[in-house]
């Protein structure tokens, strides 16, 4: 059977499966607005906003145990209380209590208190449910913000840092930790803007022509996807499927690491007009440079990488370093040395996988179906095949010669 199985046809189908639909997006938004209303009216938060993939525009449909799962939304519930006179235990409990007293939210609330969050579970509607993590916090104190500024973070960004409650279940104690989800979103958007600009007009026009929206201006920005956002989405999905039910599942690369690494490479390469495929290739090439760090005698490699100014991932005698761009004190790779560098090993194994798994155009791979299924999941693969064979017409290539051919011309 003649089929075209190439990067565009496979990813086009993948996006359909992993993107949040406009309806689901509106539903998520209404859930989030209801929580915001509940917490602000209850007086336990003054500022409620999304963080993570929802705020980055890189949200994907999660995949667990061989199936598509419920969406995760992360919310920050920031209180205007002064950190210096606030107890983390009291703050966390007050948010939990407020949700518990709400007629609507008490049935959704998971009584099992998380380390940093409260979780709300929304029952599936049309087969898709949501989990919402609510993160209680206050504005970070000035001493800590000043220290972050000294590490070359712009004051305007550092000022957005928050203090998050940190619950130790075994000891039953609470502490503060620093985070800056808003600063991180600003950092991301800043890098994503030129990438988005390159595609936004086309994507807006396409939605208007499909009659989804009346005018170009009416298309909401979260529905547009730059090549940078697409690469992050594809990588996350591939990670979810590849590590699903594997022994090293717990060590798989976390989303924030994938997001920050891809964004850092995109910021450096400035490939604004590149296709998703080209940007993906550039990121894979860049990340594989670092695989030499994942060996016993890494010191020489580390020096060579430093000489080439390749410092996105660093390794020294203290361990692995992959810093939060808006809070250099936070190291996303802090736990990579644990269990015999298990997370580092899983990460570089995954980089090797992406190198080969995204080569759909290669003619020689005999069993593409199995390989696609292994990389992106069974449902998507079946759908890709169904669509392509439906569309397939018998084709014998027509030969084109170089002489006397038309030349593209624009007035």
């Amino acid at each position: 059977m003649e089929k075209i199985l190439n990067f565009d046809s496979v990813t086009e189908e993948l996006y359909k499966q992993i993107d949040i639909t406009p309806t689901q997006y509106d539903l998520a938004k209404s859930h989030y607005e209801a929580v915001a209303k509940c917490l602000t009216e209850g007086g336990v938060a003054t500022d409620v906003y999304t963080q993570g993939s929802f705020a980055f525009g890189t949200v994907i449909r999660p995949y667990r145990e061989g199936r598509d799962a419920d969406f995760d939304i992360d919310l920050v519930a920031q209180s205007s209380d002064d950190k210096l006179i606030t107890k983390p235990r009291a703050l966390k409990k007050s948010v939990g209590k407020c949700l518990d007293e709400s007629q609507y939210h008490k049935n959704l609330l998971d009584r099992n208190e998380g380390r940093r969050c409260w979780t709300l579970n929304y029952a599936p509607k049309d087969g898709v449910g949501f989990h919402m993590d609510v993160l209680p916090c206050v504005h970070e104190e000035n001493d800590i913000i000043n220290k972050i500024v000294l590490k070359n973070v712009l004051p305007a960004v550092a000022k957005k840092a928050i203090a998050i409650t940190d619950f130790d279940k075994e000891e039953d104690t609470y502490d503060w930790s620093t985070g800056n989800p808003r600063g991180l979103v600003d950092w991301f958007k800043n890098i994503n803007t030129p990438y988005l600009r390159a595609v936004s007009e086309y994507q807006r026009r396409a939605l208007v022509e499909k009659k989804a929206y009346a005018s170009i201006e009416a298309v909401p920005e979260p529905l547009l996807k730059s090549s940078l956002q697409r690469v992050i989405q594809l990588f996350k999905r591939h990670r979810d499927v590849r590590f699903d039910r594997q022994p090293d599942y717990a060590y798989r690369p976390i989303s924030i690491i994938i997001t920050v690494l891809v964004t850092k490479v995109a910021a450096e390469k400035k490939l604004y007009n590149a296709s998703v495929k080209e940007l993906l290739q550039a990121v894979v090439d860049e990340l594989s440079q670092y695989s030499s760090l994942n060996q016993d005698f890494y010191v020489y490699s580390a020096e060579r990488l430093a000489q080439r100014n390749a410092v996105i991932i660093k390794r020294d005698s203290d361990g692995w370093h992959l810093c939060n761009p808006v809070n250099p004190y936070e190291n996303f790779a802090e736990r990579w040395t644990e269990d015999g560098n298990a997370r580092a090993k899983a990460f570089f194994k995954w980089v090797e996988w992406i190198k080969s798994d995204f080569e759909f155009d290669r003619a020689d791979s005999a069993d593409k179906f199995t390989s696609l299924q292994k990389s992106f999941g069974e449902e998507v693969t079946k759908r890709i095949y169904a669509n392509l064979s439906l569309n397939a017409t018998k084709s014998v290539p027509t030969i084109i010669t170089a002489v006397n051919q038309p030349k593209p011309y624009r007035r």
Partner: protein, 218 residues
Amino acid sequence: MRAAVLDEVEILLAEQPLLTKTEIDGGLKFIGKYKICNQFENEIFEDYFLLEIFIPNGFPEDIPTAKNTDGKIRANNYKGHVYANGQLCLEVDTAIAAFLQGNPSFLAFLTKYLDTYLCGFLFYRKHKYLPFGEHKHGVPGLLDYYCELFETTDIKVAYSLLACLFRENLKGHIQCPCQSGKRYRDCHKEKINELKASSLYERYKDDFESIIAELDKR
């Protein structure tokens, strides 16, 4: 629309089952996925494109156009060879009209212009250069075309020869504007008269006027 064209439409719909035909004011539109499968040198270029192909009622005197509707081909990924509305920059209109004059077939148009353009796009995406060349944008591209038509590399010569089309009573004994040193009647007169009599005369005139308008601006 001519009967011969309508026969071709049936063949097109059979060959491209993912296109749907719509009758609109002024002609026929084909909307949907258009498949190409071409071999150039040792590579096969095979892909689907979301297109909107338009055949005007005045075909073949009026030339067909094609638009890409999903932004796969963009000015910023194909060296500007697409208009803002997605219309593909296939060739200089006059060149297409001249082809259709000798070959008034819609399917021949698709093979010659659309398939080659799309194959060129896939090739460009992979190798970063255009396999069959390109014309410059705007008036310089028009002059490129007239250089080819008059088989010269000198745009001044191309311009002077084109200008002859719009001059009355050009005497046969003058020096030919192509600077060959020959007399006009022994050189380009025949070619110019042929173009003057051609049904494309109005197109030549429009092109010439655009060129003059551009020169006036400078």
